[in-house]
Symmetry: C2
Subunit: 234 residues, 2 copies
DNA sequence: GCTCCAATCTGAACAGTGTTGAGATGTGAG
DNA sequence: CTCACATCTCAACACTGTTCAGATTGGAGC
């Protein structure tokens, strides 16, 4: 596995690859920078010309995977089975893609989902969160999600899906039947959307058209975390 | 800080305390066993008479906190503001307690919520998950949650609440107004419950009383993870 | 009271870690 | 062909988790 040329060519990418498979083999912390370097056939200190620290390596990997996940979600929305025009079907496809990924690649998912550096901003495109909000907009435009319930709705849906994904990736819950994951994911999305719709219709029944409760919620200023992109990474 | 007696008396507890404050100061991995030992005024190897490894220390701490959280949730259900007879109010109080804790003590929450050893089983009493299911049962008994929707409902609610808590603890979302957290939590719980109720009523409208979809969901075998309790830890 | 065992803790050591800095080795622009 | 610069190596640093032989102690049984 020793390379012949002194210069590696793409050491950065190779280190990210090695780190990714190491995460898969032994989790986020079950490996060392030295080991990743050794796998690539390079001295430990070589890595420091591409990443400021081990943490930065992990963060860069996290961002790489996150961007890939964004692509995957978007793709699976576009190619939702059945009618991809139905915005609700699209959202279910998104949820399924998200959760399935977390379950199929749990070690990497654990790394990425607890966001050491996965705050929505960075140069990550498309960020999974953006894909979700776009789908909710589409849902609203199609009339499937009432206007009054739209504000902050991405947060409710995100929490539910994220919770599901994290619970599965962490192994806190487990399904015997792999198909059950799909069903539960679908149920979570449907339940959440139904709940959101009903909340809005309740509000519409009130005198002012929107209840005081909904009104206050609308004023909630949901600020997504700003994080520095790794200086040498990404 | 050096103790006078050779035997510490309660080194185990003292190490757990030190670990807890270290987690709070520098996160799950930002400290060493040696440092925790030093804080307690004891040699590093002393810790190994109480915990098989550093990991076991962390796991034991996780379980201690988890049990404490269970107590907290149960307490906050019992003493729900307003009418503690209203099962929906109780569940909202539970959600509030859960999420608020994650936000107020994020470092410890991060440690505990990703469950290295927090699978519902162990000797943890009361386990937060059990408190949740008990509340859902109460909700069903009161008629606020239709029978057909009860099965697996704890999973939907848990996912939503857990997702919210994890997103906040990980700093993936942030609210400017601290009160907004309360509102969003309430919204998440309400939305989920409404969604579950509506799902059931939809099903009731069908010929067989339960749709094929609900029928399949009912057969989902939700298995909670079984994990070994740490051999030397509690 | 004393004895003696088992629990508890210490000290020194091991291999392995992240990280640094000085120097070797190539590469591509001029 | 040269030479500056990016890339990589080597050796070293302080520190980590962990082990184990031996010192220290509290308490049970006499």
């Amino acid at each position: 596995m020793a390379r012949e040329r002194y210069h590696h060519g793409d050491l950065r990418g190779a280190l990210l690859d090695a780190a990714e498979t190491l995460v898969r083999e032994r989790g986020t912390d079950g490996w060392s920078l030295r080991e990743a370097s050794a796998r690539v056939g390079v001295s430990p200190s070589a890595a420091y010309h591409h990443f400021a620290s081990r943490d930065m390596l992990v963060r860069a990997l996290s961002e790489r995977v996150l961007a890939w996940l964004g692509e995957r979600l978007r793709h699976d929305c576009e190619h939702a089975p059945g009618q991809e025009d139905d915005p609700q079907r699209r959202l279910i496809a998104l949820g399924r893609s998200y959760v399935t990924w977390a379950l199929d690649d749990p070690a990497v998912a654990r790394l990425v989902l607890r966001g050491g550096a996965t705050g929505p901003d960075s140069a990550i495109t498309p960020h999974p969160h953006d894909v979700l909000t776009a789908e909710l907009d589409r849902l609203t435009a199609a009339g499937a999600l009432p206007e009054p319930a739209r504000e902050g709705a991405e947060f409710v849906v995100w929490a539910a899906l994220h919770g599901l994904a994290v619970l599965l990736a962490d192994g806190l819950v487990r399904f015997d039947d792999p198909h059950a994951v799909t069903l539960q994911t679908e149920r979570v999305v449907r339940t959440t959307l139904n709940g959101l719709a009903q909340e809005a219709s309740h509000a519409a029944g009130r005198p002012a058209g929107r209840s005081a409760h909904t009104e206050r919620l609308a004023r909630v200023d949901l600020t997504l975390t700003q994080r520095q992109p790794p200086s040498m990474g990404a």
